[in-house]
């Protein structure tokens, strides 16, 4: 077998260098080869394109009404809140909320009546029902979480407020989500 002399044990020989070099090259090549096999599972170009921002016309939504649109496979509630709903949302002490957040931080300035939230309960993912529950907001029938008219969690097992998706007003009656 491989005979090691005293000198070979002290100084790495040319043979060792060769083996180390080959081993390193193999490792680098292996990782580089593996990357495409992993990367292919990420969303492909057509999925990414289908998830492009969408525009929603707000004109058909009367005061006190809401619609549900889908973006990137997720349901999004767009609610035209009544004055009463806005007051109820703003009269709460923010620090007393399970997930403290002011109503102003969850809507766009100058467009306070429009609430845009992702309609997925932050507990285990069911879709809460609009205009239900004790807070004039949303009620999730799966485990009883209650959200207020700003989409914030008030009682029930859900830990967080209904998330607000990225959106902006392209005009007073049109928003772009995403």
């Amino acid at each position: 077998m491989i005979v090691t002399t005293a000198s070979a044990a002290e100084h790495p020989t040319r043979r060792d260098f060769l083996f180390v070099a080959t081993g390193c090259a193999a490792a680098v090549g292996g990782v580089a080869t593996l990357w495409p096999f992993v990367s292919q599972m990420n969303p492909d170009a057509s999925t990414i394109a289908a998830g492009a921002p969408i525009e929603v016309d707000l004109k058909p939504i009367a005061e006190g009404q809401d619609i549900k649109v889908f973006w990137r496979g997720k349901p999004i509630y767009i609610m035209n809140r009544t004055k009463k709903q806005i007051e109820e949302a703003r009269s709460v002490t923010v620090s007393s909320l399970p997930d403290p957040e002011s109503d102003q931080a969850r809507v766009k300035e100058g467009h306070d009546q429009w609430l845009v939230v992702i309609g997925i309960c932050t507990h285990l993912g069911c879709i809460p029902i609009a205009y239900e529950g004790n807070y004039d907001g949303f009620f999730c029938p799966c485990h009883g979480s209650q959200y207020d008219s700003s989409g914030r969690i008030r009682q029930g097992p859900a830990p967080a407020n209904l998330p607000v998706p990225p959106y902006q007003f392209v005009s007073d009656s049109k928003i772009q989500i995403g």
Binding site: M1, I2, R15, L18, F19, A21, T22, A25, A26, G29, A32, P36, F37, S39, Q40, M41, N42, D44, A45, S46, T47, A49, A50, A52
Partner: protein, 689 residues
Amino acid sequence: MSGPSDYQPTNPVMKWIERRLPIFGLVHSSFVVYPTPRNLNYWWTFGAILSMMLGLQVLTGVILAMHYTPNADLAFKSVESIVRDVNYGWLLRNMHATGASMFFFAVYIHMFRGLYYGSYKEPREVLWILGVIIYLLMMATGFMGYVLPWGQMSFWGATVITNLFSAIPYFGESIVTLLWGGYSVGNPTLNRFFSLHYLLPFVIAGVVVLHVWALHVAGQNNPAGVEPKTEKDTVPFTPHATIKDLFGTCCFLLLYAWFIFYMPNYLGDSANYIVANPGVTPAHIVPEWYYLPFYAMLRSIPNKLAGVVVMFSSILILVFLPWLDTAKTRSSRYRPLAKQFFWIFVVVGVLLGYLGAQPPEGIYVIAGRILTFCYFAYFLIVLPLLSRIEQPRPVPNSIADDVLAKTGSKTAPMVSTVIALVVAGALFAGSTQNARAEEEEAPPSQKWSFSGPFGSYDRGALQRGLKVYKEVCSACHGLSYIAFRNLADPGGPGYSVAQAAAFASEYKIKDGPNDQGEMFERPGRPADYFPSPFPNDQAARAANGGALPPDLSLITKARSYERGFPKFIFDFFTQFQEQGPNYVDAILQGFEEKPPTGVTIPEGSYYNKYFPGHAIKMPKPLNDGQVTFDDGSPATVAQYARDVTTFLMWTAEPHMEARKQLGLQVFIFLILFTGLMYFTKKKVWAEAH
């Protein structure tokens, strides 16, 4: 695997596992200390290469199955979306498709090694038969895999091969209906082929386990054909065979990478880039190259049932080889007559392969019959006869003696056989190019900016070509695989995302239904695809005198012409892949007012110099001055043809630049790594010799 292992681990965890499931001992005795003859040559590395190819095909196949849709209406498009949209999808698809060819290339070498060195002889008969079973499973797997993209060749190949079973008397038709799941090849057939194509490789893996087990019982054969007698005859499998196999694998990977990155369509058929059409049979139905010899034998026999029987027998006869060739001397090295007949047999196989791609006419038929006879004569007449009458040369006393006796003669047989195989391989590969044997004039070869290993798309040409398509071709031809967002992709026309969005918004796209239940039109968005000018094929035909203007997305890959001998051999080395663009460019410029004397063109058709049959339904689409270019390029037919063809090459292969770039990196790495492996192998084997 003969008796308990002598592997004693020191690590307590290893000891614990080993006592309950001695898997480390199994690996140790089978692949580490396993005694391997020390005189094996590189033909013996193909077992390891085949194992790697099986693993790679399974891995790439499982991943492709994550994105593929096995439905007749969706399959072709799903394969295109893998190639266009999935991250590295083009790479995975190329790996799997060329991997199948490489798998068969390796298995043929592996089998011919077995034939030459008598590896099928006692006590390795079961090993050999298991190998034949693996080969049959591979053929079934490859056949079903080729059907999955649902191109023209997929569909018609499936029709021809499943129809073979109708030759069986009485039950034939019922068996075919059972296979089809319908009255013809259709969606049920595709679905079950997908399921079985996914299943069979794992069956192959199981038989491979049996194959390796049978091998380890008898031990490996070796070039001298003399069994190991003492310890001096063998070396431990690790590191000697492991490193040598790895080096052989690296060399094989270089060839594999050549196809994946630079010649992905060389071994395929351009007709498979056309969606399956049950109403139109391609002019030449040709299987993939690895089935060609058997296809030739099938077509040589004028009787349907006899042809099928002959074809299957040509494979099954391999099973009987240990009893047909009973010569005591294993290796053909020491059998001068058997050696020559072996090489004649190889040539017969290659010629049969070549014939399989030719139209079954004239001299090809006669040659096919003679060669089929020769094929069977080798097994049924030559080998049994030689067993009786041949005087073999004396074999070495032992493997150790064989190694010591080697002077320079070791390399010589390798060189001659390599040359023979290269010629054979080139003929084989090129024969698939000959399937479209035309007496027509071949389109002139143009210079394209995207040809060769460093080719890239001329951005200006792509943008001008898009303009030509939009202003001229889009009136009749769709481009449905291209989305507006692709115009901003890297390696394309080079528009910005905003420009692509603006381009899209000029189009009216049908969408809906809206809340009233009606379809409506809206401006195009980047995610939309180029709209087709007609709502369906029937409307397209009605508007074009009964002819269907093809969608142009894949046209430069769906058209080809025969390059002829010896061009197709040079093409492999020069990476020539531009038949499609040459053809499209020639068609666009090949219209002539008056056909030559003696040629009549039917009413409603036009004369085109390069269109097969010369009568094309499309009127001359391009005229000078038709399109003005912003960059001042000449407004001539030649310029339009060139630019739109470049554009259409991009629509057919949007990721070509990425493919060639990654190919360069892979090649540099592989060459360096192969070099490192070569020196590592030499060092590891230094003591052994």
